[in-house]
């Protein structure tokens, strides 16, 4: 059987958001050959997500983005758009799923910079698997790509500043949400609010969003929690627990959930200084947001260039990164949930694994057994994290529930539910089986 073509580069950057684009440009300008892989048809990532078809209006941040693209343009970076990174196989070859061509592209690189962005946290809730429920981040991508809002009334719930930002976007597009349900109560954390003053950019942004909510009379219900979603009479009915102990019902056609963001190591190869070197950058390394992404991408690029040159670079991070780390810590404190809302309060019939339809009760039964199983046994026998999403939506909640039930479980409940198996995303068998790969790079 003919060996498929393998392209070689000094560095493969995975992820065409702000951090990845900044890293690729920096590496190329240092004289290294660089490929930049992006799973979508255009660069941009989450924050700079570009309109599909170019017709939608820009939401924000366009000036910085154009500056980043200009840096990339002259640098000679080879862009691989529509290429999904599906893993680093055991011979050290990075695999990109070229979905349009139905081929797996093999790339041999001396180093990988992984800049695939953060993971949006969404906690399980009764009814979160229903049609019409999406994530706030997903909704925001939809707004950016189409410039429009899907039809019907929208309700936003969960925790974190993104929910407020999405609500403000919706208002700008003429479609205010019925309410924003917030687990935390930033107004009840004066210490943190005071410290936020050191970050006037954030304060201004927050003030702008909140003013928009106020003028559109969108309630921002702090200290409240979305307890359940049901579908009745063709609409979603959300039960919201209020701070005083009572509850309120909201009807909507779309419910957007979001419980913050966190770094993304999901199935990704571990960082290493042995070749192929693996370094993470941007929100997937540490969820610091757009203000740190460019600096972090460049920082990672300089680290990689130094490692490839065999020199040691002083590991001290950029000042900008330290500043955003402090800012994120303050935001985290501001939005810390005040309600006792948590996994322990979920009813048994709450779906935990949406792919395989496994419930919170199924997991509790396993945890109650006398011969209590470890994480991998729970995964295999409980079929948690075994579905099409490969555990993206349930792995955290499963691990947290196991940790809460048995703090000293063997193997450490802090370990991942899934090992770093590839493909990282389900990949076409036709593509994986194809051995007539284009003779590219020759």
């Amino acid at each position: 059987m003919a060996e498929p073509a393998i392209s070689s580069f000094d560095v493969l950057v995975i992820g065409g958001g702000a951090a990845g684009v900044a890293a690729a440009a920096e590496l190329a300008s240092a004289g290294l050959s660089v490929a930049l892989a992006e799973q979508r048809p255009t660069l941009g990532g989450a924050y700079h997500r570009q309109p599909v078809g170019g017709s939608a209006r820009q939401l924000r941040g366009q000036r910085q983005w154009l500056r980043l693209l200009r840096g990339l343009a002259g640098a000679g970076v080879e862009q691989r758009l529509g290429h999904v990174f599906i893993g680093l196989e055991s011979d050290g070859i990075a695999m990109l799923d070229d979905r349009a061509a139905r081929r797996i592209r093999s790339i041999k690189a001396r180093a990988l910079v992984i800049a695939v962005g953060a993971i949006e946290r969404v906690l399980p809730r009764p009814g979160w698997q229903l049609d019409g429920v999406m994530t706030s981040g997903g909704l925001q991508m939809l707004l950016k790509e189409t410039g429009g809002v899907p039809p019907g009334d929208l309700l936003i719930a969960g925790s974190g500043p993104l929910n407020v930002a999405v609500a403000a976007d919706l208002i700008r597009l003429g479609r205010p949400p019925v309410a924003v349900i917030e687990n935390g109560n930033p107004f009840a954390r004066p210490g943190a609010a005071l410290r936020l003053a050191a970050h006037p950019g954030l304060v201004a942004e927050a003030a702008r969003h909140l003013a928009r909510l106020a003028s559109a009379r969108v309630p921002w219900l702090r200290g409240s929690a979305l307890a359940a979603i049901e579908r009745r009479d063709g609409r979603l009915r959300a039960t919201v627990r209020m701070p005083g102990g009572g509850s309120r019902m909201f009807a909507a056609d779309i419910v957007a959930l979001h419980d913050g963001i966190r770094p993304n190591a999901f199935g990704l190869p571990a960082e290493t200084q042995a070749q192929p070197i693996v370094v993470r950058a941007g929100d997937c390394r540490e969820a610091l947001g757009i203000r740190a992404a460019v600096a972090d991408g460049r920082h990672a690029a300089r680290q990689v260039a130094a490692m490839l040159a065999g020199t040691v670079r002083d590991g001290s991070a950029d000042r900008k990164i330290g500043r955003q780390r402090r800012a994120q810590a303050i935001l985290h404190e501001l939005f810390r949930p005040v309600d006792g809302y948590g996994l322990a309060a979920l009813p048994d019939d709450t779906i935990l694994c949406r792919c395989e339809g496994r419930t919170v009760g199924d997991l509790r039964l396993m945890l109650a057994e006398t011969d209590a199983p470890g994480l991998r046994e729970i995964k295999l026998n409980g079929r948690f994290g075994m579905g099409l999403c490969q555990g993206r939506f349930c792995a955290d909640a499963v691990r947290d529930m196991v940790a809460a039930a048995r703090p000293a479980v063997d193997g450490g409940a802090s370990g991942p539910l899934s090992r770093d198996r590839w493909p990282l995303r389900p990949a076409s068998i036709a593509a994986l089986a194809a051995d007539d790969e284009l003779q590219e790079g020759k």
Partner: protein, 391 residues
């Protein structure tokens, strides 16, 4: 406390399918069992196996005999034992893709028929109506009846639950501690301290080799596998598991090379009850559990050639298991020479799921001093040159 042959306490090392089955049968016979695992139940080969409970690929001789008994026991444990719902009966369909393979298959089919297996041959126009989704170039298909499939980790879990034994996880055995007479084992040493018993069973797969000083005899042999997304219609089009004849050839090639050879590819496409497919596998002289694109590509390309519709599906994940293989292709089951209370059961290579329950029952009967209904002579642990069994 002194070890005694008539005693009722047993330490079983290894909570894979063999150890779990041993614990189950011993508990039922009134023994007090402690089941130890360096990691967790089914954490090695039993949890990364293809799940074939099959005689079809066995060579005539002791393994074919054992596999027949193994299947009979699965059927019984499924019907009135702890494995209800876990053993899924379906035929194995061996296919030949060219004339050379067809010749091999015809010869093998004779041996299977001689062992009493129910066979049906499909050739020419009969083939597409029996296997509508299989590629038209297939020359011959032989359906081997009364075979089945069982998921290793599910069987392990059920057997352990039925045994009532709480597995002692993350408890590796560091060494075997001899008694003062040096004719028996007094205890196993673990990081949590020594554990004494009357009898000791080593069913720790590759770990057994290390404990017993058998590393030259038992070798790791890796197998890579791929699992697909669900495809109920294509899944239902297969009456059983598809096994390419090359699987036999890949086994034979390794034996011809004296138990070690380069990487070999067999092909098994198993329609799982979930609607997914399990595609395997390689035979590689390696003990790691990584997957490489070259191997996955070759496996999937041959799967697509045999079952074209599978090209439309997505692969969910690749994984690998490490079999424990011996140089003559037969397992090590029986008393360890020189010791009167030490039994080993390992080296099943790819047949652990098929033979695990049977071997657990066999070991349990050995300990209880009963007739084990299986000729263990071909599996005698002492049949290889006397390496230091227990250093």
């Amino acid at each position: 406390m002194g070890a005694s042959i008539g005693g009722k306490t047993v330490v079983v090392v290894g909570a894979g399918i063999v150890g779990a089955a041993t614990a189950y049968f011993l508990s039922r016979s009134g023994f007090a069992v402690r089941l130890l695992d360096a990691n967790a139940p089914a954490s090695a080969a039993s949890g990364a196996a293809d799940g074939a409970v099959s005689v079809a690929s066995k060579r005539p001789g002791p393994m074919m005999t054992a596999a027949l008994a193994g299947i009979a026991l699965y059927r019984r444990l499924e019907r009135d034992g702890p494995l209800g719902g876990l053993f899924h009966e379906r035929p194995t369909i061996m296919v030949a893709e060219d004339e050379h393979e067809a010749e091999t298959l015809r010869g093998h089919a004779e041996a299977l028929a001689g062992a009493g297996k129910q066979l049906r041959h499909f050739e020419g126009t009969a083939l597409p109506s029996y296997l509508p989704s299989v590629s038209a170039h297939v020359r011959l298909a032989v359906e081997v009846g009364e075979e089945g499939h069982a998921i290793g980790y599910e069987v392990v879990r059920r057997l352990i639950a039925a045994s009532g034994v709480a597995v002692e996880r993350t408890t590796p055995v560091l060494e075997l501690v001899k008694s003062s007479s040096a004719r028996s084992i007094a205890a196993v040493a673990t990081p949590r301290g020594p554990i004494e018993a009357d009898h000791f069973v080593i069913a720790a797969g590759g770990g057994s080799a290390e404990l017993l000083g058998l590393s030259g005899t038992v070798r790791p042999r890796k197998g890579q596998l791929v699992v697909t997304e669900r495809a109920p219609a294509l899944n239902a089009s297969l009456p059983g598991s598809l096994m390419s004849c090359r699987y036999l050839l890949s086994k034979d090639a390794i034996l011809a090379a004296g138990g070690a050879a380069g990487r070999r590819f067999g092909l098994v496409i198993d329609p799982l009850r979930t609607g997914q497919f399990l595609i395997g596998g390689t035979r590689e002289e390696s003990g790691d559990t990584s997957n490489d694109l070259a191997a996955v590509r070759i496996m999937l390309a041959s799967a697509v050639r045999l079952l074209p519709g599978i090209a439309r599906l997505r692969a969910l994940r690749a994984f690998a298991g490490v079999r424990s293989a011996t140089s003559d292709g037969l397992p090590l089951v029986g008393r360890v020479p020189g010791y009167d209370n030490l039994i080993v059961a390992t080296g099943f290579e790819g047949d652990g799921i098929c033979l695990g329950p049977l071997m657990g029952r066999t070991v349990s009967r050995l300990i209880a001093g009963e007739d084990c209904e299986l000729d263990l002579a071909p599996f005698a642990p002492g049949r290889f040159e006397r390496r230091s069994l227990v250093a």
